[in-house]
């Protein structure tokens, strides 16, 4: 792994423990172009094999490597050390708002449970379409769904959203974004139930439009706009206006 630019030292502070624990500092050669995930892996392979962290694809597809890097949630497999290190230091911690299993590993179960609560799944109904649904690529619904469909479920937005921290019932940006893509899917048969699920307490109305989710999403998705769409639908439903 050694490269020509490995002259300085990177001081890597890594969270060790569970909900209670401490930051421990590891020193490895600074390589500006390697990723934060590479740096964490190097510590695990060269210094402390008991360090727990999670990754799978290493190419920004699986969404399993998200961590807090210098207090900001990021996908670590696509974040270069040189871009985020400050004065040769990096602080890596488990994602906010989720229970810590060990070191950098969080339990994603509450995150995905909220996707289910938000009806964040395609519902073909009891009598699914027999034929292909014809969806014009330029239609407003298709474009709205397209804007949010590439979510990799990394939880970065969930960790970035302060409302998630303040209100444990808040479904969060990712689940609501997924719900919005499905509200725009003409084949889905449970849009009424989904709208009810995202309009109640902890639903879209709890979003304060901080845009931290949109600012941090590594896939450049804008959950804030998806949630704004859900809010419009919720207001129309509350006023009895047909969608």
């Amino acid at each position: 792994m050694s490269t020509a630019n490995a002259t300085e030292t990177l001081s890597l502070e890594i969270w060790r423990g569970g909900a209670v624990g401490e930051f421990r500092t590891y020193r490895i050669p600074m390589r500006a172009s390697e990723t934060v995930l590479d740096a964490v892996s190097e510590v695990q392979r060269s210094t402390d094999p008991t360090l727990a962290y999670r990754f799978a694809c290493r190419v920004g597809m699986c969404g399993s490597c998200a961590m807090m890097v210098n207090d900001r949630p990021r996908w670590t497999c696509r974040t270069r050390v040189g871009v985020v290190a400050r004065g040769g230091r990096l602080r890596v911690a488990p994602l906010r708002h989720l229970p810590v299993v060990k070191d950098l590993v969080v339990d994603m179960a509450p995150f995905f449970a909220k996707w289910q609560q938000a009806h964040g799944r395609f519902e073909p109904g009891v009598a699914p379409f027999r034929d292909f649904a014809r969806v014009a690529p330029a239609s407003a619904e298709r474009q709205a769904a397209d804007a949010g469909i590439e979510c990799i479920g990394c939880g970065v937005c969930y960790a970035a959203c302060d409302v998630v921290g303040w209100n444990p019932d808040y479904l969060g940006p990712a689940a609501l974004n997924r719900a919005w893509t499905l509200m725009n899917d003409v084949r889905d048969q449970a849009r009424r139930e989904r709208l009810a699920a995202v309009s109640g307490p902890g639903g879209c109305a709890s979003c304060h439009t901080h845009m931290a989710c949109t600012e941090t999403c590594p896939k450049a998705i804008a959950p804030t706009y998806a949630i704004a769409g859900l809010k419009r639908l919720a207001i129309r439903a509350a006023l009895g206006v047909r969608p």
């Binding site: 409302v163 639903g203 509350a238 006023l239």
Partner: protein, 109 residues
């Protein structure tokens, strides 16, 4: 918050936006013209347009403020539930009564 509260919050915000803009315009205009309190009251006395505008202003504020406070109470102080809602409804009524009293006083002065 649910859809109905969100709708109430948005509609009251719409009314507030207009009311605050008119309110600011009136203040600036009155100051620029150097109107005295007596001259101002002379214009507002018996003025139904004034009462209608400020009546809407007060009602919108009494709907909007408690809904916003509700989120602040729940998220920052962990205070929610029936008791919190009852207090907030009381607060909304208080704003409405005090505001209407003030608007009426200026109208009837």
């Amino acid at each position: 918050m649910n859809g109905a509260l969100l709708a109430a919050s948005r509609i009251s915000a719409l009314v507030l936006a207009v009311a605050v803009a008119v309110h600011l315009y009136v203040i600036i205009d009155a100051v620029q013209q150097g109107l005295t309190a007596a001259a101002l009251l002379g214009r507002t006395h018996g003025n139904w347009a004034f009462l209608a505008l400020y009546g809407c202003f007060v009602l919108a504020a009494s709907v909007h403020a408690p809904i916003g406070l509700r989120a602040v109470l729940a998220e920052w102080l962990g205070c929610s539930g029936k008791l919190a809602d009852a207090l907030l409804i009381g607060f909304g009524i208080l704003i409405a009564v005090l505001g209407m009293r003030a608007a009426w006083a200026v109208f009837a002065a």
